[in-house]
């Protein structure tokens, strides 16, 4: 066995006499003890770059303590924005060796090329942005309407992280009734992209108004996951606006570019949401104050209008009264004048009428008197003649009356016979023997009794 190992090592030294530069993605990084040896795999990921899928090629890398110091210094010199973490694509230098105790080929790392990593990240980012733009996904979120009152929030971040704490603290301190649906996701490592994409869809499925995707500050490589296609597509595909608060100092991540809005830090992201709600609350209060002010203004205006109305009514009334007074006075004068005139006229009229009546009466009387006088005169003239004629007519009547007087007839020997009941007897028919008869003669009466009755022959 030792001979085999030695033979393999020797052939490797022949095949790779110098150190080589190798490109690959860090996976299964084991930081080891502080200041100790670091192990990881350098892999060629699956076609789509998804590190959670089976890789195309893999080689173990060992970074001994001495080399690690040099590598760290190199990263620090590059600005500290590149870190060796799972999922980071690196270009590293090392010697190909055979580790006979482990029985495997490995790279003994001695140096790193940070500019490669940065360049790759930038290049990947550019490629992805172009692809998203071509599919219309880059601006899709920007076109979504941000809800006016986002009170139900989805929070996608690592549970227990400073970013989560900052956001929740900001929301809680606002005193507003936020409801937060929290998805605990991994924000670094090979599973980060997939985890964050799941988190985004999970909170969106809970019917939130907004999604907050936040992550505390870190090196560029720590945040490289937010340049991943999986997260970019997850963000762009949501129908809920996504706000990012990914701790970037300089660059924007693809997630930032795709999101509805991007903020520098998780705190700024939360503050923006609070400010949104506050603004609407303020608008509401202002609208109410406006309504109240307008109502008061209206009230005052109406009262003023009423007062003005009252004033003009009063003025008009006074003017009207004055006019009426004047009118009345004028009328009174005229009436006085016309009344006395009329009185005078009617008095004259009456006088005239009285005169008529008096003169008429007197004339009438005089006529009567004249008639009377004439009649008297005629009477006086004619009376003796009338009396004489009357006397003569009276004498004739007396003569006739005398001619019919029964006493004169009786005196000449005629008598009148009546029955017992005083009826004049003109026929013997009604008489019976024994009836009493009373006969009136000139000198008296004779009572007799009927013996026999003989009808006139």
């Amino acid at each position: 066995m030792p001979e085999l190992g030695e033979a393999v090592a020797a052939s490797l030294r022949v095949a790779f006499p110098d150190e080589v530069w190798v490109r690959g993605v860090i996976r299964n990084l084991n930081p080891g003890r502080r200041g100790g040896t670091v192990w990881f795999d350098l892999v060629e990921p699956a076609q789509d770059g998804d590190l959670s899928r089976p890789v195309q090629a893999s080689v173990p890398v060992v970074l001994f303590d001495m080399a690690r110091r040099r590598v760290n210094a190199r990263l620090t010199d590059a600005g500290g924005s590149v870190r060796m973490t799972d999922g980071t694509e690196v270009r590293l230098r090392g010697r190909i060796t055979y580790w006979d105790r482990g029985g495997r080929l490995q790279i003994q790392m001695s140096d790193i090329d940070p500019s490669f990593t940065l360049g790759r990240l930038a290049a990947d980012r550019e490629r992805l942005l172009r692809a998203l733009a071509a599919e219309g996904l880059l601006d899709r979120q920007a076109g979504l309407r941000r809800p006016e009152v986002p009170l139900r929030l989805g929070l996608v971040t690592s549970a227990g992280s400073a970013a989560e704490h900052d956001v929740l603290d900001e929301l809680r301190r606002s005193g507003l009734g936020f409801a937060v649906v929290k998805a605990d996701v991994r924000v670094q490592g090979t599973r980060a992209a997939r985890s964050v994409a799941w988190g985004l869809r999970a909170v969106a499925a809970r019917g939130v108004d907004l999604v907050l995707l936040v992550r505390g500050g870190g090196a560029t490589t720590d945040l490289a996951v937010f340049d991943s296609e999986a997260i970019a597509r997850a963000v762009a595909g949501l129908d809920v606006p996504v706000l990012t608060g990914i701790g970037h100092d300089i660059d924007r991540s693809v997630a930032d570019d795709v999101a509805h809005a991007a903020y520098k830090t998780p705190t700024a992201c939360a503050q923006a949401v609070v400010a949104d709600v506050r603004a609407v609350e303020q608008r509401t209060v202002e609208a109410w104050l406006g309504v109240a002010a307008a109502a008061r203004r209206h009230g005052r205006r109406q009262a003023e209008r009423l007062r003005a109305c009252g004033r003009s009514v009063a003025v008009a009334t006074r003017q009207g009264l004055a006019a009426a007074d004047r009118d009345l006075a004028a009328r009174g004068d005229r009436l006085g004048r016309s009344a006395s005139g009329a009185l005078a006229r009617s008095t004259a009229l009456l006088d005239r009428a009285t005169g008529h009546v008096e003169s008429g009466g007197r004339a009438h009387l005089r006529t009567h008197e004249a008639a009377m006088a004439a009649a008297t005169a005629r009477l006086v003239q004619r009376a003796p003649r009338v009396a004489a004629a009357a006397g003569r007519r009276l004498d004739a009547v007396e003569t006739q009356v005398r001619a019919y007087d029964p006493s004169r007839t009786l005196a000449r020997g005629w008598s009148i016979t009546r029955d017992a009941r005083g009826r004049v007897v003109r026929s013997p028919v009604a008489l019976r023997p024994g009836d009493t008869l009373v006969t009136t003669v000139a000198e008296g009466e004779v009572r007799s009794t009927v013996d026999t009755v003989e009808d006139e022959p």
């Binding site: 959670s52 649906v181 929290k182 605990d184 799941w198 608008r283 209060v285 406006g290 109502a295």
Partner: protein, 76 residues
């Protein structure tokens, strides 16, 4: 009889509508009272919507973890 829940945006829009109406001069005094009453109702509704609810946090972590585990388990 209960009215359908009015959304905040609708309530605010109505409130601003009332304001616009009152900005005009042609508002009857009787109507004015009704408008102010309605505006105060809307304000109360908006206030309740914003500050009435309790701050609360809900977790969807468990199912998410399971899903991620299931998804990443495929390649191992």
């Amino acid at each position: 009889m209960t009215e359908p829940e009015l959304g905040y945006a609708e309530a605010l829009a109505e409130l601003e509508g009332i304001l616009d109406e009152l900005d005009g001069d042609e508002v009857d005094v009787d109507v004015l009272g009704a408008r102010v009453r309605r505006a105060s109702e809307l304000l109360r509704l908006c206030r309740e919507r914003i500050a009435g609810a309790r701050f609360e946090v809900e977790q969807v972590v468990a199912e998410l973890e399971a899903e991620v585990e299931a998804a990443s388990g495929e390649d191992e």
